[in-house]
Each structure stands twice: as structure tokens, then as C-alpha cells.
């Protein structure tokens, strides 16, 4: 029973850790280049996140399945073939069914082949873990990356263009423009800098600063709790000593 609970807990950790505590973009600082390039619009960021999920989950599961077959001398070439196959599959599918997304992502879609998150999870996790664990780990990392892209893109699209545009990338969404900071050409509070690469760096930096502040705050709280516990223990010990001496 205890083993089962522990295994379930590990599954949960495999899935949840990469979403927040070990987020590949915000905490491990991996995959930053495409993250800055494709986050000019929310739809594009979601599209990249979905395609990234297909590549990472598919390649991790397959590598985990084949981990006992692939000779260690050719592990890396084999992983790259598998990852490249999934990248090519998502490229073909997006070019056929979501051409606007394919054009928007451009070269960054092809560059998923050498994305350090994808190759990193294959080398660090999938090759030495079971299929289910690898699936959860890949899904967690993908979701973590998607959420990170989404956060940056929401800030950049609103600040950079003043509106949220839907339906420009995904053909099945009706084309809608939601004004947030721009209501007309004369009533426009948008800051075009945020739609440019420099804006991406600024948003990424601010989010990193917020995470760092939160992390340090948590550490301070933990330290304070530890100190309080140590003081309480010392007080208890002193009390016990006094009581003993009194006896």
C-alpha cells in the first residue's frame, strides 16, 4: 500500500513539477529563443505550445518504448531521428491544416529538432524511465512551456498592439478583435515596442524577476519557520532541563 502511494506521488510529481517548480522556460531557462520569437500573439503562442506538446510527448513516449532496443553508441542519433520525425509530422500537419500558424512560426518550428527541452527530456528522463512516467513528464513539461508562452504572449499582445486578435491563426475560430488598450487610431494606448524582440526580452525579464522575488520570499518564510521551530525546540529542551533539575 505504501509503495502504491509512493508511486502515485511520484507520478504526480513527474507531471506537476515541470509546470511550476521546474518550469522549463521560467525556472530552467530552456527554449527561450522560440519563446521570445513566437509570443507576439496569443494564438501563435498557443499554436506553438500545442505543436511542442505533440513533439515532446510523442518523442518521449517512443524513446521510452525503444529505450531497451536503442544501442547506447547511437542513442543521440536515434533520438534526433525520432524527434525530427515528429517535428516533420507537425510541420506537415500545420502547413496543411493551419497554414497561418505554419507561416507565423517559420523557422522556429523546424528548430524544435534541436530544442534543448525536447532533446534534454529524452536524454535525462525518457531513456531511463517507463512509458507512463515519460508520458507524464513530457506532458508536464509541455504544459509548463505552453503556460509560460501564454503568459508572455498575453502581456506582449495587449501592450504591443492594444488588442487581442482571435481567428487570425486558427481558421476554426471566428475572427474577432477585442480592444483592450486601443479603441481607435486616436485612442491608442498601446506600446509597439512590446511587439518587437526588445519587448519580448523586457516581459521575460519582468516575469523572471517576479518568480525570483516569489522564490526568495518562500525561502525567507521557510527559513523563518525553521528558525522558529529551532527556537521552540531549544525552549522545550530548556524547559525540560529546568524541570529535571527541579526534580
Amino acid at each position: 500500500m505504501a509503495t502504491q502511494t509512493s508511486t502515485r506521488g511520484q507520478h504526480k510529481q513527474n507531471f506537476l513539477n515541470p509546470i511550476w517548480k521546474a518550469n522549463p522556460l521560467f525556472v530552467l531557462l530552456l527554449g527561450t529563443c522560440p519563446a521570445l520569437a513566437v509570443t507576439t500573439s496569443i494564438e501563435q503562442a498557443i499554436g506553438m505550445g500545442i505543436l511542442f506538446t505533440i513533439v515532446l510527448v510523442g518523442s518521449s513516449v517512443l524513446i521510452s518504448l525503444l529505450r531497451k532496443i536503442i544501442p547506447e553508441e547511437v542513442e543521440t542519433p536515434a533520438y534526433i531521428i525520432i524527434i525530427a520525425t515528429f517535428v516533420t509530422i507537425v510541420k506537415m500537419l500545420s502547413e496543411a491544416f493551419v497554414p497561418a500558424l505554419y507561416e507565423g512560426l517559420g523557422v522556429f518550428l523546424s528548430l524544435l529538432v534541436v530544442n534543448c527541452i525536447v532533446l534534454g527530456r529524452a536524454e535525462a528522463f525518457a531513456k531511463s524511465n517507463g512509458v507512463y512516467d515519460s508520458f507524464l513528464d513530457a506532458l508536464g513539461n509541455s504544459l509548463g512551456y505552453l503556460i509560460a508562452l501564454l503568459i508572455i504572449s498575453v502581456v506582449r499582445e495587449i501592450l504591443g498592439t492594444g488588442v487581442i486578435t482571435l481567428g487570425a491563426v486558427f481558421p476554426f475560430i471566428p475572427k474577432t478583435v477585442i480592444p483592450v488598450l486601443k479603441y481607435s487610431s486616436s485612442l491608442d494606448f498601446s506600446i509597439p515596442l512590446f511587439a518587437r524582440p526588445a519587448g519580448g526580452f523586457i516581459v521575460y525579464g519582468v516575469v523572471e524577476a517576479c518568480i525570483a522575488a516569489h522564490t526568495w520570499h518562500q525561502k525567507d518564510k521557510e527559513m523563518a519557520a525553521k528558525r522558529a521551530a529551532a527556537q521552540a525546540a531549544a525552549a522545550a529542551r530548556a524547559k525540560a532541563q529546568v524541570a529535571g533539575e527541579a526534580k
Binding site: 508511486t7 511520484q10 510529481q13 513527474n14 525503444l66 531497451k68 532496443i69 536503442i70 544501442p71 547506447e72 553508441e73 547511437v74 542519433p77 536515434a78 531521428i81 525520432i82 525530427a84 520525425t85 516533420t88 509530422i89 506537415m92 500537419l93 502547413e95 496543411a96 491544416f97 497554414p99 531511463s128 524511465n129 517507463g130 512516467d133
Partner: protein
């Protein structure tokens, strides 16, 4: 976390290593090949599904480009490569039906042209035909990565697409001159290719015809060629200009063509005057393949002795009647284009109620420089205008001036600017002076053309000029440098008026 670090079954494990080495490497290679093979099979299968969809998407996207040129385009032919052309890569035939039976025109696909260091343009150009004549069509920009993209598109591409014509094609001074010139060259190359391959590639011996028609009167050989449309015989107009400003026409030649079976006549005729008062010039037969060629040549000789519409009264039959129709069609084309666009037609903008104009005094090398503002003023010609038809009372003198500027403004208003503003402008204008030669009155000034970046400010200043204005007043007008140049031209005109 349960990390199942099991590599016991891998080929490199001890028990596997006991196998002969070649077997081991064969297995390694085999597995890698198998993974590659399965990947290839999967991608091939997927390509079979997505390939046709991708092709259809691309076709629709290309068709959208073609429809920006020909709205009713339904299909195009396979591309035909164009060799040895600096601007063009290939052309397509555009059809209004999917069966490709109704040809509506040609679409020329340009090469990607680098515009200095400003970026690239890649365009598709429509050229259709009216008889043998090429007709300019719209332009679709496949790529425009110019750093001044907006100025280029709003200042040149949009006006051209709104009215594809020689006039809008020539208006390259739009604030994005280099990009506009590059696109102008693409469009011109497309029209030349069309003319050479599908239209009438015949080139009139213009110099000979001009000499025959104008004789000793021919002053300049500065010519612009314009294709004519909506005419039965008239093909092209050659506009002769009075000086290098290419403003102020001196005369026009209209070329005409008749072709019926084996009979053909090519005739060029000269015109001056306005659209309501056409002045007939001589004509030249460039080519005649008719049975009564002798009669035709004899008629032309008679006509050239006394050119005029009434000379055609006797041309009632055979090729003479055809020649009459050709000449009348040429006259109609001349009038439809507004007649001769001479400089003199603008005099009433600054001198009202004059009765007569003298012949022009043509200046050579009359210039004045203003080094402080990088301006060079040039006087081209002047006319006297009279208040009586007998030309006894001179009302004023009108000068045709040009001011060219090429200077770096140090942007003194912005101390942080590290790149000076480059001012490049070219303004041609008229100045009317009257009164005392030592202290003349400026009756008015009028802009004939202006290619400066402050076009509106300069036009308003010149057209609204009066004697109350002082040179110091140009400071702070947002066009200080250019208006200093205009004043330099005024000083030169005044010195010429004083007889210096």
C-alpha cells in the same frame, strides 16, 4: 522518483559484448537503419495525405495574388522562364476560366530585387493587350522588406494600382524614390518583354521621323514615350520637351498603324497647340505596303507643303482615305491627352489678362549657388508677356527656374540626432517679374513640379507668394532649406531681369 535505470538488455551489456564485434556493429547499424526506415515510411504516408492539401493551399494563395492583378482570374498557365533579364524571372498567361480558353492577360513574376541597402522587393505585374499595344495592369507585391515600406506603398504602389498608366508609372519621386524606381524598372521590363514577344515590336525610326516632321525647328531630342489606348490606329505618343527639366512640351509626335491582310501603313504625324485648337504638323510614312503607294507618297508630299485638316478633303478613296482616318485618330488621341502641355499654358496662373507672349529667350549655364543651404538655381528660359496683341506694352517677364538641393541638414534642433537629415529636392517653378529693373515686383510664382519631402509646404509658399514676404520668414516653416533654395532662384531671376 522511481528511476528504472535498466540498461541490462542493451547491446553494450557484458553478455552481448561476448558476440563477435562485427555482429554487434551490424546490429547497431541495423537498428539505426530500422528507426530511420520506419520514420521515412511514416513521413511518406503522411505526405501522401497532406501533400495535395498543401499544394491546394499554395495554389489558392498564388491565385489570390493573381486576382489582385486580374480580379476575374480563374487559372494561369505553367510559368515560362525568362532568360537574360535583370528584372524578370518568368511569366504566366492568366485566364478567366478554369479551362484556360479565355486569355485575359499576362502576369510577369519579377526576380527579388535588392534596393540598395533598404531591403528587397519582389513583384508580380499584369500586362494585357489592346490590339498590338501593351496595357499596363496592376502590381502585386509578393515581398516588400524596404525600410520605408509604408511611404513606398502609399506614395507609389497604391496610386499606380488605382490608375495603372504611364503618368503614375513615371511618378517615382514619392519620398521613396529608389524603391519606386526599382518597381518602375520591373514594370517597364515586363511591358518591353510583352511588346517584343506578343505585341507589335516595330520601332519607328524616331530620329528620322522627327527630322522629317519638325525639320530645322527641332530644338531638343528630350522625349518621353507613351502607349496610347482606346484608339483604332494611334499607337504611341512621343512628347518632346523644351529642356532637361522634362516639363514643358515643345511638340508631340503620334505614331499610327493600319494593317489589313497584306496591306499595311505606318505613319507618324506631329501636333502642337491645345486640345481645342490643334495645330497640325507634317507627317512621315515609315512603312507602306499598299497597291497605290505612289499616290500615297504624292499625297503626303502635298500635305507636308501645307499641313492642316483641310488638306485631307481630297483623300476620299483607297489608301488616302485610310491615311485620313489614321490622321484624324491621331488628332483625337492628341486632343484626348489634353493637347500640348507647354510651359506657356501655366502663365495665366501668375499673370492674368495678358494678350500675347514673346518667343522664349533660352539661357544656357545661368546658375546661382547657395552653398550655405546646398542649393543650385538654374534659369532655363524667359518670356515677355504683353498687355496688347501687338506686343508693344510689356506687362511682365516670366522666368522658368529650377532649384535642386542635395545637402545634409545637421538637425540643429535635435542635439541627440547623430544622423543628419538628408535633403534632396528638385523644384521647377515660374516667376513673374514686372516694374523697375533694379527693384522689380514679384507678380507671382507658380510650381510646375516639386519632388521635395515638404511638398505641400513648398507648394503653398510658392503659389501663395507675394511681395510682403521676406527671406528671413522661411525660418521655422518646416521647409527652411528648400525655401532658401527657392529664394536663391528668385535672386537669379531678378539679376536676369536687371540684365546682369
Amino acid at each position: 522518483m522511481e528511476e528504472t535505470k535498466q540498461n541490462e538488455n542493451k547491446l553494450a551489456s557484458p553478455e552481448k559484448q561476448s558476440k563477435p564485434e562485427w555482429q554487434h556493429w551490424l546490429a547497431v547499424g541495423g537498428i539505426l537503419c530500422a528507426i530511420g526506415g520506419v520514420s521515412a515510411l511514416a513521413l511518406t504516408a503522411l505526405n501522401l495525405v497532406t501533400g495535395p492539401i498543401i499544394k491546394r493551399n499554395n495554389d489558392q494563395k498564388q491565385l489570390a495574388g493573381y486576382r489582385a492583378i486580374y480580379a476575374n482570374c480563374q487559372a494561369v498557365s505553367d510559368p515560362v522562364a525568362i532568360d537574360n533579364n535583370a528584372n524578370l524571372a518568368e511569366y504566366y498567361q492568366a485566364y478567366s476560366d478554369e479551362g484556360k480558353t479565355q486569355l485575359i492577360g499576362y502576369i510577369y513574376n519579377s526576380k527579388t530585387i535588392a534596393v540598395k541597402s533598404y531591403g528587397n522587393i519582389h513583384a508580380m505585374v499584369g500586362i494585357s493587350s489592346e490590339g498590338d499595344n501593351p496595357v499596363l495592369g496592376k502590381v502585386y507585391l509578393v515581398e516588400d522588406s524596404l525600410s520605408y515600406k509604408n511611404t513606398f506603398e502609399t506614395g507609389y504602389v497604391e496610386p499606380y494600382n488605382a490608375n495603372p498608366s504611364d503618368e503614375t508609372l513615371a511618378a517615382v519621386k514619392c519620398g521613396a524614390t529608389y524603391g519606386a524606381t526599382a518597381l518602375n524598372e520591373i514594370i517597364t521590363a515586363a511591358r518591353d518583354h510583352f511588346t517584343a514577344n506578343f505585341g507589335d515590336s516595330f520601332q519607328e525610326p524616331l530620329a528620322d521621323d522627327a527630322k522629317t516632321i519638325w525639320g530645322e525647328d527641332l530644338q531638343q531630342d528630350l522625349v518621353k514615350e507613351t502607349y496610347l489606348s482606346d484608339h483604332t490606329y494611334a499607337r504611341k505618343a512621343y512628347r518632346f520637351f523644351e529642356d532637361e527639366t522634362m516639363i514643358g512640351e515643345w511638340g508631340q509626335l503620334i505614331t499610327t498603324k493600319y494593317s489589313q491582310g497584306s496591306d499595311s501603313i505606318r505613319m507618324t504625324i506631329g501636333f502642337k497647340g491645345t486640345e481645342t485648337n490643334v495645330v497640325w504638323g507634317k507627317m512621315a510614312i515609315t512603312q507602306a505596303s499598299v497597291s497605290d503607294a505612289d499616290a500615297l507618297n504624292a499625297f503626303v508630299e502635298t500635305y507636308n507643303a501645307a499641313p492642316g485638316e483641310s488638306a485631307f478633303d481630297s483623300a476620299t478613296s483607297g489608301s488616302l482615305a485610310i491615311l485620313k482616318d489614321m490622321a484624324l485618330d491621331a488628332k483625337a488621341a492628341f486632343a484626348a491627352a489634353g493637347g500640348l502641355q507647354s510651359t506657356e499654358r501655366n502663365f495665366n496662373q501668375i499673370e492674368k489678362d495678358y494678350a500675347a507672349v514673346s518667343d522664349p529667350v533660352v539661357y544656357s549655364d545661368k546658375t546661382l549657388k547657395n552653398d550655405s543651404y546646398g542649393a543650385k538655381a538654374t534659369a532655363y528660359r524667359s518670356w515677355s508677356v504683353y498687355s496688347d496683341a501687338e506686343k508693344t506694352t510689356e506687362k511682365a517677364k516670366i522666368f522658368k527656374m529650377r532649384v535642386q538641393m542635395d545637402v545634409d541638414n545637421p538637425v540643429s534642433s535635435d542635439p541627440h540626432a547623430y544622423v543628419p537629415e538628408h535633403i534632396e529636392s528638385d523644384t521647377v517653378y515660374l516667376i513673374a517679374l514686372s516694374g523697375e529693373v533694379t527693384a522689380p515686383t514679384v507678380d507671382g510664382m507658380y510650381v510646375l513640379s516639386d519632388s521635395s519631402g515638404r511638398h505641400q509646404v513648398i507648394t503653398d509658399y510658392i503659389n501663395g507668394f507675394d511681395n510682403s514676404k521676406a527671406e528671413d520668414g522661411v525660418v521655422g516653416t518646416d521647409a527652411t532649406y528648400s525655401l532658401k533654395g527657392i529664394w536663391t532662384g528668385l535672386k537669379l531671376a531678378k539679376s536676369l531681369y536687371a540684365g546682369e
